[in-house]
């Protein structure tokens, strides 16, 4: 074991953004439970959200201004441009989710709600940066625990607690599976560091135990990204959780999980041993294929927009898994780009769903009927989000897909199978347009049950428009962020 001295000084220096978030979350609690105890519910929510947004913006600004490459505690935690990009993306997503939470009425504990959202964000940021099994585990648990709690936050809704329960139970099971895999990895290599594991595995022949460990780790991480067959929680949780929480689960948590999946893939495929790599890749490809197939097919049968988004999320996870399986630096970056832009779009879609639900009390297709006449701007945003998810150019969803599949095809050793998978994925995404159009048909064509305008706060409207604009502009200038996040 290498000797390196770690003290609070350098721990603090590398985790300043996370620390900012933690301090702000405590501040939120103090303000909410201390000063504003007697205030009205909306005032408390507003104060808490404002503080939360300020916190995430501060942390994001710090990251933006302090770019650089660093590693900590023997590479337990790394900070490079890609990780920083993921972290800034996560912070942005959190800020957007908080901005969309201003009107949320599901909780009577706004202080706790915002504090836990911020702590969950800390978890996501650390997950994205972690390169040590132990840190990955603890950070993932921080993330998961926060999300379990958040999913149950709408206590007056029976669906919310059920959503939390399903999320929790399968989260717990998958965490145990993943830990079991981690224990075998540790047993085979004697280290928990991903680099160490890569080096050690490369020097050994392929042992059957590694194969077992791979499957177990794939199960744990497959749960986080909602890949078939570990996806069963996703539709129920997306449907039952409060809308902003569902948005967070679908966005920030996804980004973080894919980041860690990329890192783990890098360590499980040491260049020296093609056959071991092949096993892991084949696992990923199978999960990807099953996710794409099942996600798209099941989405066709949905009548709840949230469940539809859940199944489409499964399909999107499948596309991204293909990119991870390609395992080149380009495909890794393409997955990042895809995950971030997908997450952004999904947050927007859930924002629209939240507004509709507040007005109509349901997220069924009928609730969206005539949205274009009740609120044209909201309808236009939804149009942009859903078309981007379907991969229609020139929206960003198209570039993400194009870039991802191009990266997959360029990866060395992609033969007929790789080409076949890409064609399969393209065909599936062509099918996916159909169910997105089912929603858009309600939005634009089916007459509304009532003509009264859809009530939406100016802030929500603004945030949704900004997201829609981002989705469209990034589609027109896909390389606009290339200094920040490489396209591939």
């Amino acid at each position: 074991m290498n000797t390196f001295a770690v003290n609070y000084g350098n721990l603090f220096s590398i985790t300043i953004p996370e620390t900012i978030l933690e301090v702000v979350s405590l501040l939120v609690l103090v303000v909410d439970l201390g000063f504003l105890r007697k205030s009205t519910q909306p005032a408390r929510m507003t104060a808490a959200c404002v503080l939360g947004v300020i916190g995430s913006v501060l942390a994001g600004l710090w990251l933006l201004t302090h770019s650089g490459t660093a590693s900590f505690a023997g590479d337990a935690l790394v900070l490079n441009s890609l990780v920083a990009a993921a972290q800034i993306g996560i912070l942005l997503l959190t800020a957007l989710v908080l901005l969309l939470s201003f009107q949320a009425e599901f909780s009577r504990n706004p202080g706790e709600y915002v504090a836990i959202v911020l702590l969950a964000t800390t978890g996501m940021m650390l997950v994205a940066a972690a390169r040590d099994l132990l840190v990955i585990f603890v950070a993932l648990e921080l993330l998961s625990l926060s999300l379990y709690v958040l999913a149950a936050f709408a206590k007056s809704s029976a669906l919310s607690s059920e959503a939390a329960l399903k999320y929790y139970l399968f989260g717990g099971m998958s965490a145990a599976l993943m830990l079991f895999g981690f224990s075998y990895l540790y047993g085979l290599t004697g280290t928990t560091n991903l680099n160490g594991i890569a080096v050690s595995l490369a020097s050994q022949g392929l042992s059957p135990l590694v194969v077992v460990a791979m499957v177990l780790v794939a199960a744990g991480l497959g749960f986080k990204v909602a890949a078939v067959p570990f996806h069963l929680w996703a539709p129920d949780t997306y449907q039952g959780a409060p809308a902003p929480v569902a948005a967070l689960i679908a966005s920030g948590s996804k980004v973080a999980s894919f980041a860690v999946l990329v890192a783990v893939t890098g360590s499980l495929i040491p260049a020296a041993s093609a056959s071991r790599g092949a096993t892991w890749i084949v696992l990923l490809v199978w999960m990807a294929g099953a996710s794409i197939l099942l996600g798209n097919l099941a989405a066709l049968a949905q009548t709840s927009v949230r469940r539809l988004l859940a199944y489409s999320a499964i399909a999107h996870a499948g596309y991204m898994l293909l990119g991870i399986a390609a395992n080149t630096p380009q495909s890794g970056a393409a997955v990042f780009y895809y995950a971030l832009t997908y997450a952004l779009t999904t947050v927007g879609a859930f924002g629209v769903i939240a507004v509709v639900e507040r007005n109509m009390g349901s997220d069924r297709f009928d609730a969206f009927a005539g949205l274009s006449r009740r609120n044209p701007l909201l309808a236009a945003s939804m149009l942009i989000f859903l078309l981007s998810l379907a991969g229609i150019p020139p929206l960003v969803g198209f570039w993400a897909k194009f870039n991802l599949f191009a990266a997959v095809l360029r990866a060395p050793g992609v033969g007929a199978w790789g080409l076949g998978m890409v064609i399969f994925a393209l065909a599936a995404s062509a099918v996916s347009l159909y169910y997105y159009l089912q929603v858009l048909k309600r939005v634009y064509v089916v007459p509304a049950m009532t003509d009264e305008p859809m009530a939406v706060s100016a802030l929500e409207q603004l945030v949704l428009l900004v997201i829609a604009l981002l989705v469209a502009l990034l589609g027109i200038f896909p390389s606009a962020l290339s200094g920040w996040i490489p396209l591939g």
Partner: protein, 166 residues
């Protein structure tokens, strides 16, 4: 000596775990789980993990299981009903578990020679070493657990608190 201890406590472990599944009242299951955990503590001792053995008793058998029994009492949970919500669980689940377990065991047995053996004389991990690693190399995750526990407290309070008239 080692063999006898292992067989006894591994036996306790298995018996406890199986009993956990067979009992219908949650309290009985909880007690069985305590048996499993205590036996595991002894096995940890056999493996030279002195500190973990103690932590196992205090944290798991002590704190966590007390929490469980507390909730059982609080909600006055009774015997579990034998409902039939799912056939798939049995039809699909059991063969799957058997298959997975067989693969796992086969793999472990296939490489068992290379896994080495456990000797009682291998010694005990010194506390100082443990704490050095914990508080120096693993400082980050250690601090992270404090955040984790904060989330747990906040969450538990927020979820378990009664909400007035709503």
């Amino acid at each position: 000596m080692h063999l006898i201890l292992f067989i006894i406590f591994a036996g306790f472990c298995l018996a406890g775990a199986i009993n956990l599944l067979l009992q219908t009242h949650p309290i009985n299951s909880a007690l069985s789980l305590i048996v499993v955990m205590s036996s595991l503590a002894v096995l940890y001792l056999l493996l030279g993990a002195e500190f973990l053995a103690i932590a196992q008793i205090i944290v798991y058998a002590g704190a966590v299981m007390v929490l469980f029994t507390f909730v059982v009492m609080l909600l006055n949970v009774g015997e579990e009903e034998k409902t039939h919500g799912s056939k798939a669980a049995k039809i699909i689940g059991f063969p799957a578990i058997v298959a997975a377990f067989s693969v796992l065991t086969t793999v472990i047995l296939a490489i068992q020679n290379k896994l080495g053996g456990v000797k009682l004389s291998d010694g005990v991990t010194p506390m100082t070493e443990l704490s050095t690693v914990l508080f120096r190399d693993m400082l980050l995750p250690f601090e992270l657990t404090s955040v984790l526990i904060l989330v747990a407290i906040l969450g538990a309070v927020a979820l378990a608190r009664k909400e007035g008239h709503r």
